[in-house]
Symmetry: C2
Subunit: 597 residues, 2 copies
């Protein structure tokens, strides 16, 4: 039976009690982490979000009635304790903030009893994630997840403070908005008042923040929920949170400047880590050439080497064919991995194939200077020597090569490089390597759509010197777009926006839109642009990813209070679920029957 | 043709330039508010979110080329100007922050030309709201709306700072969640992965914040978007924003204390208004009896007077009948309104009828002491005298009476009281009268449902002394629920929550739920409660309303960047709209044809 807390008032959280309170009477409340009776003394570890505090029940202090009540305590009971703070009688527990004191109880109330939880509440839980997510309210009691969510709260708060001091206004944009094509799949919301019509949940506040710039708000930010109905991966959720910002009368350097100072402040205040400014910048082309990735992890080397020139005359058909088809041959040098067993190398080949490679050529430089290789037999001695030299190959190294179209070569070696770094434990979660990747391509050709698509979005400004190329070589136009990358993860990205009608029109032409189509899709923004639009630019961070990296976690689920799983469902609430027919009737929609498929 | 801003960097916002900059060269950017050529000198009022700055173009300063360009300037052009700050040559403009200076331009770039806007960009716009909302991006340029949104940003920020300092954690709860009955109508989101299943957008984070308390987060807050698919009124939007909080190990007074300090801080820092603490408290019953409203406006008197006893023996059938039916007769005294013309009184009667009254009895005390009355003829002289006395009626007063069931009497007189105050201009927007209304009824009988409904929600704690009444007289049970009221508007409300199983079960019984039904609806919360739940309580403010009152506006649309209109549509984006069939196919839903209705 639950007792009321009437008449009691908590005086301290658990770890707010310290040696300075010795001799005082305190009132503490929380969960029983552990309770044990040792020779007529009951020891209770009391837990709240601040940590643990040891409570002692001894009949001589608290009397028979309270002692008897204390005997009933089990894990996860919620209790209120009045007691006196004393120096710890037993040995000091160095692992506890409150390890040098204890509270000798004089009163106890059981505010809530508890059944035995389906799994223990403990750090680094070994319990299967699905079970933990079903009982997320219990899983959220774990000190490590609590720490993550406290860190998240702190990151959001420091970010807001910083941006407000920098003159940004926090402005809320609609969640019930218009379905916009040219992005990912929208979540739709049927309208009851307008049957047959739908709102869409925003994929980002992009159009609204640009409108706010047109309206003169100058600097906008929002920590905004965004929605994408895509198939999930480890670092994706159907709903996610962006730190979203937009600035007027700025160019690339202004956006980078304010964001570098934001990152510096965040990492200093949250993790006590000094981010050296300016953060390194690299063009997209350099990132691809050196790391095979537009979000390179700079915590280790193993850079890509272009050996196309070196092997262009050899007889190895894989190399030769790739080059003849306009592709390239590139390699990475896994230093000291020359003795890798064949089975592990085969696994690398298979990994490469998953990324689209037809195969993976390898060459191990043996300790005696001879080679073990999948392709040496097709090449002349001096060709091999030149290749090894080009790769900086030394005794004991393992050289891995991909030969294909550039895109495939980048994808394969970029992924392989990270994969090897994980295997070789080169990735230190305590090291934070930031990088700006700049000058992204403006347009990407989509085989599927048979036309060019905007790599960021259709409002991204091309680099001024590349504007003429839009008509002639659209694929070569570089954009004033930038991503901020941390340890191989894209933390955020943004761009300078097109603010001139004639550039915007060129862009829509390149995307294959008629004027009518463009207005149909983005009419209100294009109209807004008629009435005086300032140069503007912005950036958005994935808050979930940022916090994940700061918390040194591998999944964003560990930094979201109530995440969804891979099939976009919530194991705790069972959302999505079936609704009453009357709800669908009001919305004038029906569920399509399977047979109609 | 738009020029680029390359090579220029804004040095000041418009009103950041001041007398201290005289002699300096500044670079300013913004919108042309007004441009006029007076005797070979071009005067431009440049506008940004900070305000206005006067720019002077004279050929002798800027040269022929720039002067020629300046001649082309029209309202809403976006320009960049480099120039020298000088003391204002003409007379000082006291209405402007920068009225004592001007900038003599030496360089001009036209960053963006502008068509003539469909309505002038000016404060207190007289343009029809629908047109302004269609061109919201232009409407948002108005300085008064910009001030409102800046105020909103400030309110949100101060609130967050305060709560974080008070130990609250900001935790985000899901937007794609489970449809919960017992509330308003949900917005639904069809699931693609689980055809036939739906998410619901949250009406509030209620269940999640209670779970967070179960999980030990102790103090939670969130400035959260909420959704209700209801028909709109002036102060309602399909999506709205709550300042939402929940606290563990607290009772009513703790919640009130922290919120009073929050309100005090907000009003001091934003409006420089001192809110005297403690804020007045009033039980729901007293609020109804004295003001006929659970959100009384305390800026004026005109309180309700219960005259049931006084008139109980009279022969006026309207009074008699109401009393015999268990109702009451109550009146308000419109001081000094005795000479109100008959036509206006008739309008009041008609107003009363809109609120459910069968009529409205009135009695004017003439200056000569005689009465003009709709019912005097049915009452004896001494009965009338006693009635006037009970009402504190003096010469020149107008007494208005309603006789009906209590609920109707409260509704009618409560509304009439506010209506009269508006007519008599008793409501001063600069005066802020706060009030806590406490001890709300726990349950309300719904004729429509044929059962009791939770007045707040099914987790609201009854007052301890009233718990036994749940079985016997459910309608009499008072709840540990409280609303914070400001000038007749409910700013927010909350309650202490039930944390004991046996009380919760009683509550569900009173609501007519079987255990199975209760688990079906609220299963995950009830399950969570099995594993140790702390006493907890919370409160949520309507941020839109709070900001509306602080900005002295009449509609929340004036404090929301992109609001919707009465039919829940957005006039700017045309949301909701029709979507592609392929989108519906993927969701396995179809639009019901009219004929099937």
């Amino acid at each position: 039976m639950a007792e009321s807390m009437t008449g009691l008032k908590r005086s301290h959280r658990c770890t707010e009690v310290s040696k300075t309170n010795i001799g005082e009477t305190v009132t503490v409340m929380g969960w029983v982490q552990k309770s044990r009776n040792k020779g007529g003394i009951i020891f209770v570890d009391l837990r709240d979000r601040s940590g643990l505090l040891q409570i002692i029940f001894e009949e001589s202090d608290c009397g028979a009635e309270y002692f008897k009540k204390a005997e009933k305590l089990r894990s996860e009971f919620v209790i209120a304790v009045v007691g006196k703070v004393t120096e710890r009688a037993g040995s000091v527990n160095e692992n506890l903030a409150t390890g040098d004191i204890e509270v000798r109880a004089t009163e106890l109330r059981i505010l809530s009893e508890a059944e035995t939880p389906p799994f223990p509440i403990e750090e680094d839980s070994k319990t299967k994630e699905d079970l933990r997510l079903k009982y997320r309210y219990l899983d959220l009691r774990r000190p490590d997840i609590q720490k993550n969510l406290m860190l998240r709260s702190k990151v959001a708060n420091i970010t807001r403070q910083f941006l407000i001091e920098e003159g940004f206004l926090e402005i809320e944009t609609p969640m019930l908005t218009k379905s916009t094509p040219e992005g990912a799949r929208d979540y739709l919301v049927p309208s009851r008042v307008h049957p047959g019509n739908f709102y869409a949940l925003p994929q980002s506040p992009q159009l609204f923040k640009q409108l706010l710039m047109c309206s003169g708000y100058d600097r906008y930010f929002q920590i905004a929920r965004c929605f994408r109905d895509e198939d999930l991966r480890a670092d994706r959720q159907p709903e996610f949170t962006q730190i979203d910002m937009e600035l007027s009368f700025v160019d690339v350097d202004d956006v980078i400047d304010v964001n570098e100072r934001l990152l510096k402040k965040l990492f200093k205040e949250v993790l006590d880590i000094d981010v050296a400014l300016p953060i390194q910048r690299m063009t997209w082309q350099e990132a691809m050439d050196r790391f095979g990735s537009d979000k390179p992890d700079l915590r280790f080397g193993m850079e890509l080497v272009d050996v196309t020139e070196t092997v262009k005359d050899c007889e190895f058909v894989v190399f030769k064919g790739a080059i003849e088809n306009g592709g390239s041959v590139r390699g990475i040098n896994a230093k000291g991995q020359g003795a890798m067993p064949r089975k592990k190398i085969d696994a690398l080949v298979s990994f490469a194939k998953d990324y689209g490679a037809k195969g993976l050529a390898y060459l191990a430089v043996n300790e005696d200077g001879t080679y073990k290789s999948s392709f040496a037999k097709f090449m002349k001695e001096e060709e091999l020597k030149a290749l090894v030299e080009k790769m900086d190959g030394e005794s004991g190294d393992l050289l891995l090569f991909a030969a294909d179209k550039n895109k495939v070569v980048y994808d394969v070696l970029g992924a392989l490089r990270v994969h090897l770094a994980e295997q070789l434990e080169l990735l230190d979660k305590n090291e934070y390597k930031f990088l700006w990747v700049t000058e992204f391509p403006l347009l990407e050709y989509s085989e599927e759509q048979g036309r060019y698509m905007a790599m960021h979005h259709p409002f991204t400004m091309p680099m001024e010197e590349d504007i003429p190329l839009i008509d002639t070589e659209p694929g070569k136009v570089r954009a004033k777009a930038y991503d901020i990358v941390l340890n191989g993860t894209e933390l955020g990205g943004g761009s300078v926006r097109i603010f001139q009608n004639h550039v915007q029109e060129k862009m829509f032409e390149a995307l294959g839109f008629t004027k009518e189509q463009a207005y149909d899709r983005f009419g209100f923004l294009l109209n807004a642009f008629k009435y005086g639009v300032p140069p503007h630019a912005g950036l958005a961070y994935g808050l979930d990813r940022l916090v994940m990296l700061m918390a040194k976690e591998d999944s964003i689920r560990d930094v979201i209070a109530f995440p969804k799983v891979k099939d976009a469902s919530c194991l705790m609430t069972d959302a999505p679920n079936i609704v009453d027919d009357i709800q669908l009737d009001e919305l004038m929609i029906e569920i399509k029957k399977k047979s109609e498929e």
